[in-house]
Assembly symmetry: C2
Homo-oligomer: 345 residues x 2
Amino acid sequence: MKRRQTRSTSFDVAALAGVSQSAVSRAFSVGSSIAEAKRQKILEAARKLNYVPNSIASSLTTKRSNIVAVVLGNLANPFYVSVLSTLVRRLQDGGWQVLTFTVDNGTEADEALMRVLRYQVDGVILTAAQLSTRMTSICHERGIPIVLFNRYIPGSDASGVRCDNVGGGRLVADAFLYAGAKRFALLLGDPRGTTSADRARGFSQRLAEAGIPTSEIYCIEGHSTYDGAYARVSQTYRRGELPDAIFAVNDIMAMATMDALRQRRSARIPDEVMVAGFDDIPEAKRWPYRLTTVRQPVDEMVAQTLEILHLDDPDLPIEPGIERVVPCRLIWRDTVREPKSEAPR
Amino acid sequence: MKRRQTRSTSFDVAALAGVSQSAVSRAFSVGSSIAEAKRQKILEAARKLNYVPNSIASSLTTKRSNIVAVVLGNLANPFYVSVLSTLVRRLQDGGWQVLTFTVDNGTEADEALMRVLRYQVDGVILTAAQLSTRMTSICHERGIPIVLFNRYIPGSDASGVRCDNVGGGRLVADAFLYAGAKRFALLLGDPRGTTSADRARGFSQRLAEAGIPTSEIYCIEGHSTYDGAYARVSQTYRRGELPDAIFAVNDIMAMATMDALRQRRSARIPDEVMVAGFDDIPEAKRWPYRLTTVRQPVDEMVAQTLEILHLDDPDLPIEPGIERVVPCRLIWRDTVREPKSEAPR
DNA sequence: TGCTGCTATGCATACGTATGCATGTTCACG
DNA sequence: CGTGAACATGCATACGTATGCATAGCAGCA
């Protein structure tokens, strides 16, 4: 079988059904003016010929591709898997196609990036920190709406949706304080994004308010990955005193922290050292972890993202600088002590 | 800013550069006959106008969209996240775009499915069991090459790539036998796919060869999910005797098994009960698990998949029924006893 | 100089669908 | 029965790029 076999077109269907090509086009688009009987006849003919409308051709005239580009950093963090998953489902249900695009190192990304834009995508959702500024300006230039997911560019007028990372950081600090912690450690993530920094800032702020100067918080640089965090924590706490409480700015790093402390130090969590994360990925609630963390409302954030893109009415002007900050809440599980059960042993 | 702003076309560039539209087209396609000086002049003009070739329009004439559709089941299993990730990277590097498409329940999938085909995709990669037969016949009809990833349709002539699931199941049985296990349990996955069944078959076959009748293997139905497996295992081994060895047909189920046995029964693994999985997802090697499992060579499988699609030379005929079965190997970690340390207590 | 062969270039058209416009048809209402 | 209004239909064209074909330019060679 040759691949380049000729697929039937609206003209073929028109000929078979004895109508004009316009009629075929109208038969396949809802709400256009066509008699029901004729439409049925056309659909019948189309079925016989295995006809399927060619979206490429239709995009050419309508100037709408019905394609949305989703640019992802890496999928090693399950949180972004949930985000992708939710986005794809929602867009799919809305009748859009999703062009997925990942960018790891960001160097060869530029060329690939431009390739995506060639497809006249109706919108872009961006979760990769590396090329935010460049990407937003290009899209802006070309009139393509873009939304930054869980990141923002300080001082720019790019639209974005994020959860209240600063507030979430405060919640964690609150929980630790409530549980009676005195000595704190902070495991930071990717320094290129705003997310890690914001969470850390909220955490530090709240502690400062409670009289604990930021200089007393032990900071550990990380890479937002399990392996990176595991290595750092293992190395840092190879020996010596453990802090009372460690805030890892995301769940996979928190899980790595727990694994490292348990393996290397046989640490009892939360009795000996408390741990908290951020995101509430599915793994966080599983038995070995039962991690106290801050839940990001993915569904809500995705909904807001799509609202900002307003793919439905493309003639609306693109308002720049829409920022939606959705609240997040603490999920109290077993890695932070209840203050009443003050250190049971 | 209005969204429907007019983007510049090859005619605009041609006018500015003082050449014909054809020249612009040729300037942007490698290997076409154009003087280098003129090409530079055109690229210069294009840069001034922010011109980017419109792939939609170009697809219309070339009948090649450079888009590949990837149909996924669910992303709750990290193995398929790796697959997606690898696929996207490879396709991206090759100059293709990836249209991602997920299908959970499979009922409303049909309509969405046809929408994908409207985009004249150059190929389809399918990892969702639910709609294999239907999807393959439709693609075949339309001359679109399709490859089933890690699944196949018995008796059909659809092409596919998979790892040697039967062989992998045998490897697990081998390991258990070698470690001295006598009583076996088998945790099955999604019955709709061939994957779970094949792995189970290999396992049972090998045990049968060792004199252990299949009827003596305790089978537990599962759902290929962590939560499903956790619930089943918890319920099954709420009380009573544990088997010597449990083979879960994928890693997330194996992890769930370990978590459940440890929490509900405080079971010591592997001393009291051994566990093995399949896939070798990144989580499998982490400290709480250190899971003995069968590694699927994702890179290799993806490479084979792309080879079968032969996107590069689309004029090659689509050969039906190409099946690539790549070998897999056992990764021996800590959830299966070394036979020498024969049950240290 | 005249001829051949090759490359560079432009013209014109095709790709498959959507849609503005004009016309034809139907039907309700007075 | 006449008059519109509302709807149904077809014609023709536009969307932006690729490419076959014809031609112009040029170099090489006898």
